[in-house]
Symmetry: C2
């Protein structure tokens, strides 16, 4: 089968197309014909230097799949050949998703939402699972609360804004000027252009100095440290990125800080499927490319400014 492998750690040039053996499913695994996969920031972080993730080149990376079950192991209970599925492969896992076929333990596989295409479904598992875990599993965001989502138009952010709205929260989000209208379309109540407005001033003034219940950071740097001033006492902050700066003020407000890295479980994908089928959230596709274009896709994501997800279409 065709796969795009990384030959070592480095820039996008480490990708090479290879013919590799089609994997066979072990007892509790399913073999999935990959119709589409998508690109996440963790992909290029691993491509750059993936020792921390346990990846050893040459390797197939890639952590989103929408596809169809083509074969099942002897112990598989929940799926049969022909089922449409979506999921995010484990990191490092046996193999990544930049390939025509993928094998995976059925425990982390879910049924694909019926009302969307494979291209759309491939945009959801890793980013959506992360947004779900951040706001719901970890921060316990509730109806009536207020949330500040940093980076609300990227892969994770665009789903986080929609999930927060679906949960009944008031949503502040930051983005660059050209994405302000787009962020509003996603449902954000107050969009802050970080090039022309200071989010601390905006949130302080528009919450009458009270601040928000929850902060979710997809941006990094000093964003979390700067957000403490506009987080309520006993508020919750969630980060999926590195943080810098002085966090001492968080002590004075008794803030809970949740460090997040997605763990794979089917139930999260089942929740997301429900939200998608009820049209409470929608996939956000920046662009569709081919498997062979994965190096360009990485470059595009690293350059920044992507709205939602870049998807690689592998089979029609």
């Amino acid at each position: 089968m065709k796969a795009m492998i990384i030959t070592g750690f480095g820039g996008p040039e480490v990708f090479q197309q290879r013919e590799i053996e089609k994997p066979t499913p072990e007892a509790t695994e399913v073999l999935v014909r990959v119709y589409a996969t998508s690109i996440n920031p963790v992909d290029y972080k691993i491509r750059q230097s993936g020792e921390w993730a346990g990846v050893k080149p040459p390797a197939v990376i890639g952590y989103d799949v929408s596809g169809v079950v083509e074969a099942i192991g002897a112990g598989v209970k929940d799926f049969k050949v022909g089922d449409e599925v979506y999921y995010t492969p484990d990191i490092p896992g046996r193999i990544g998703s930049y390939a025509e076929y993928h094998v995976v333990d059925e425990a982390i596989v879910a049924r694909k939402p019926k009302n969307i295409s494979h291209v759309e479904a491939a945009s959801i598992p890793l980013a959506g699972g992360t947004a779900w875990d951040a706001l719901i599993t970890r921060a316990h965001l509730r109806v009536g609360e207020t949330v500040l989502i940093h980076g609300g138009t990227g892969g994770v952010g665009s789903l986080a804004v929609q999930i927060a709205k679906a949960a009944g929260a008031y949503v502040f989000t930051t983005c660059s000027g050209k994405n302000v209208d787009f962020a509003r379309q996603l449902g954000a109540d107050r969009v802050i252009d970080y090039n022309t407005e200071n989010f601390v001033d905006v949130v302080a003034s528009e919450t009458a100095g009270e601040g928000v219940d929850v902060v979710f950071d997809n941006v990094g740097g000093d964003v979390i440290a700067n957000s403490i001033a506009v987080t309520k006492k006993y508020g919750r902050m969630v980060s999926i990125v590195n943080i810098e700066g002085n966090t001492w003020p968080a002590h004075l407000k008794n803030i809970d800080f949740h460090y997040l890295f997605l763990e794979r479980h089917r139930y999260k994908l089942d929740f997301l499927r429900t939200l998608i089928e009820r049209e409470q959230i929608k996939p956000v596709i920046d662009s569709v490319m081919s498997l062979e274009e994965v190096a360009s896709a990485h470059q595009r994501l690293e350059n920044g400014g992507v709205r939602g997800k870049i998807v690689l279409k592998i089979h029609e």
Copy 2:
């Protein structure tokens, strides 16, 4: 009445003895004759540079009281003249506790444990409330869990070790060599001398690589960052001190981080009284000094190595 005031921010030499007016209680306040107060690290941090805490010299600082109600405001419901009470004054509050009398809102005052002296009771409110909040309110430490307490023989740590044992947890604690036996007497299951043992190696090896459920840091610096390696996935870390170093590994383990600064509430003191009266925890008194010796008491605490609390005895 006699009080020790800080004349400005700086070293212990900023203390001066003064005669100031005995305060009168407002509607919901009680006037307390202070039998004893105690010294906490926050005291010398405020004495050094207390702008962050809202303190404006000249000021009476001090944040622990054990004493007797001498007068009550018209709206006071829960106390009468003659009641023995203990509590930790708010920061900055109307006045601190380095004085012969103190006024305080009854909402944060509790009845003193019956089976201990005023000197012993004065050692409990701030340090005990902090240890209680860290392990119970925030980290939800449960029977059967394992906890690592950094600095287990200091003011907060010596109570934290006892509370963790009382809660049914297995307790690792770090301290300097001369305090190892003392930490064992407090109930710690495995005492780590940080001068001769590496706590990461000890905890990893003695938990079969699993790590602990909860880490509580009273030390600061890179202690939290270094403890991530021996914290379980979805573990909880609580800090009352500044943290430094790389916290990215906490993402990979989905760790919850609780920043803590004590909020004053009566219910915490009621819990602590119950534990003391049932002899599940005991006050730990390093030394007893007089109010006039407060500068020396600060110096002693700043020098380090104090076991439990330094108490100032004000009235017999």
